[in-house]
Subunit: 380 residues, 2 copies
Amino acid sequence: MVYFDNAATSFPKPNTVYDAIMEAMKDYGANPGRSGHKLALKSSRGIFETRELIAKLFNIRNPMNVILTFNCTESLNLAIKGILKRGDHVITTSMEHNSVLRPLKYLEKEGIETTIVKGDSMGRINPLDIQKSIKPNTKLIVTTHISNLTGTIMPIDAIGKIAKEHGIFYLVDGAQSAGVYDIDVDKMNIDMLAFPGHKCLFGPQGTGGLYVREGIDIEDVFQGGTGSISYSLDQPDIRPDKYESGTPNAPGIIGLGAGIKYILDRGIDNIRSHEEELTQHFIEEITKIEGIKAYGPLNVKEQGAVVSLNIREEDSSEISFVLDEEYDIAVRPGLHCAPLAHKTIGTFEQGVVRFSFGPYNTHEEIEFAVKALREIAREI
Amino acid sequence: MVYFDNAATSFPKPNTVYDAIMEAMKDYGANPGRSGHKLALKSSRGIFETRELIAKLFNIRNPMNVILTFNCTESLNLAIKGILKRGDHVITTSMEHNSVLRPLKYLEKEGIETTIVKGDSMGRINPLDIQKSIKPNTKLIVTTHISNLTGTIMPIDAIGKIAKEHGIFYLVDGAQSAGVYDIDVDKMNIDMLAFPGHKCLFGPQGTGGLYVREGIDIEDVFQGGTGSISYSLDQPDIRPDKYESGTPNAPGIIGLGAGIKYILDRGIDNIRSHEEELTQHFIEEITKIEGIKAYGPLNVKEQGAVVSLNIREEDSSEISFVLDEEYDIAVRPGLHCAPLAHKTIGTFEQGVVRFSFGPYNTHEEIEFAVKALREIAREI
């Protein structure tokens, strides 16, 4: 089986991740931060270690500013709803995932106004368009780092500068980039960074995180037991407890830590180079095939390890089905929970067939997929 | 090591749970409900199977009314915040966990009024006290099924009847009961049932659920990608998608399914009998020890597998520390995220040492703990 659906979830994970999860479950599967016995303390320490590894990866000074969540959608909802109040204005882009667009749409009825800056046909966002959309009541800019549809790398550096100059908070959705592309929250003026655990960070599903810069006060969405200040009925006003109610996914978080260690050991630059080579290889080959239309910048300086394509007018689900059934190649068709991005590049009706690569993919697999696409394009 | 902290998280889990999680991660670790390839479909099917098993266990007719969450705290927040609106009145009890009390405290500033019915010194709630608290604007009654402090079994049958008679919604917190005590949402007039995956259902941490009766419309808290109706910026108004945004904890949910299968195979009555025997044995022995004060009804007809105690005036953390360090017995001291319950039974200052038993505990372990307590009580 050839797995080219890494943008949905990375697979497989490093063996150290599976081992860490299993050890956490079998050897010290207690509730972290609740009791004081040895197993509970070991579990708590494992979670803190992951917090520190995340902080190291994104150059976050204080690990307590890393909120551990259960997925990137929770992180984005927490950030967006935690900061926006009635009368605020927020700027986002047409290249966002529904995990950004749907919370913003929901907030419209709460009196929050959204401007959606449109990307070009390759999914690129012009930072000047963002600057021009700023109003006196603009409180937040939220953009993805890498499009989950076209792989387009967004100019987050430039947007971060604009946000800083205007005193506006900047939230980055690192769903497709965290773990592969350098993210330095300080240098890049990122006020909040949302990321999933189960994609490029190689943790299991059920993990994610949100960095919130020191001094930014966002509201909590859930309240409950935190194992801290238990005598009070008020949610503790300390980080990260304020945002982490109830039992966390301890084995998952510990597995996420093992995933980040893998990245640090192999080297983020080495992982990125490998993915860039695969992506470039794939782009070069498929653009030679008659009948294939590929989307995005088609150039790894501007594009992550995500390549979307169509074969003539054929429905994307049909092509994906054939790839799965006849070639055992796993890709993702359809709208990828990003309807406006599809409208932006003109594929809202047809969808696209999305290929997304990871560190365990090989050039042989790329060749195999290219051969498959060549055959399918010939037959259709 | 003797693990008596099952009320915090059950440990160990059945081996089939570990195996199911590992298989889901290693053999088909794709993103369920997002793509259409074989691995993704297998993962989706695994999740649906868990939904069906949950439905079977609680006599829920339609598995789509089971919302899968990441912990019981999320389930309770979703239920409480989803149903209460400004001007509503809610009745709860002093025996609740902070996962109920803190959301209600939070909602006070949103104009929602709470009445807290007080338990007696054994943590028992009189249904008549709940009935007497009903006002014209009472929208919701929320109570735990079994206290996480005293193990007291609440009269949920009687409360369910009262709620139904008055057209009030009834939310049950099954954190300490789901998987050991019979819960039939129809017979018991339970409109919403919140439960964790990682306690008596033997799933891993990072899993939980909320049943919401057909026809009750609760609001969604998070919005995002659901893999359904992706063309729309509005959150889909279908169950369970409306409440399940972003990537779920698929391996965890599949592990939870294996946990429920274990319960159905071993028999919920057999598990409960085993725990009742252990609890009765423990209660009988410790109540003979001079200097020990035990709390709750101290009778397994009224008490689950949770027994809290103190030794004279000694701090509960100190006793727990000695049990852990000198006897390798894991228990939980302190306030157990239930401050009002501690006030109810008079242990707010001292805390208690909580013992909680599970299906893997044995009478030998009970004997060993009793011996340890006897020694400690003699020395202090």
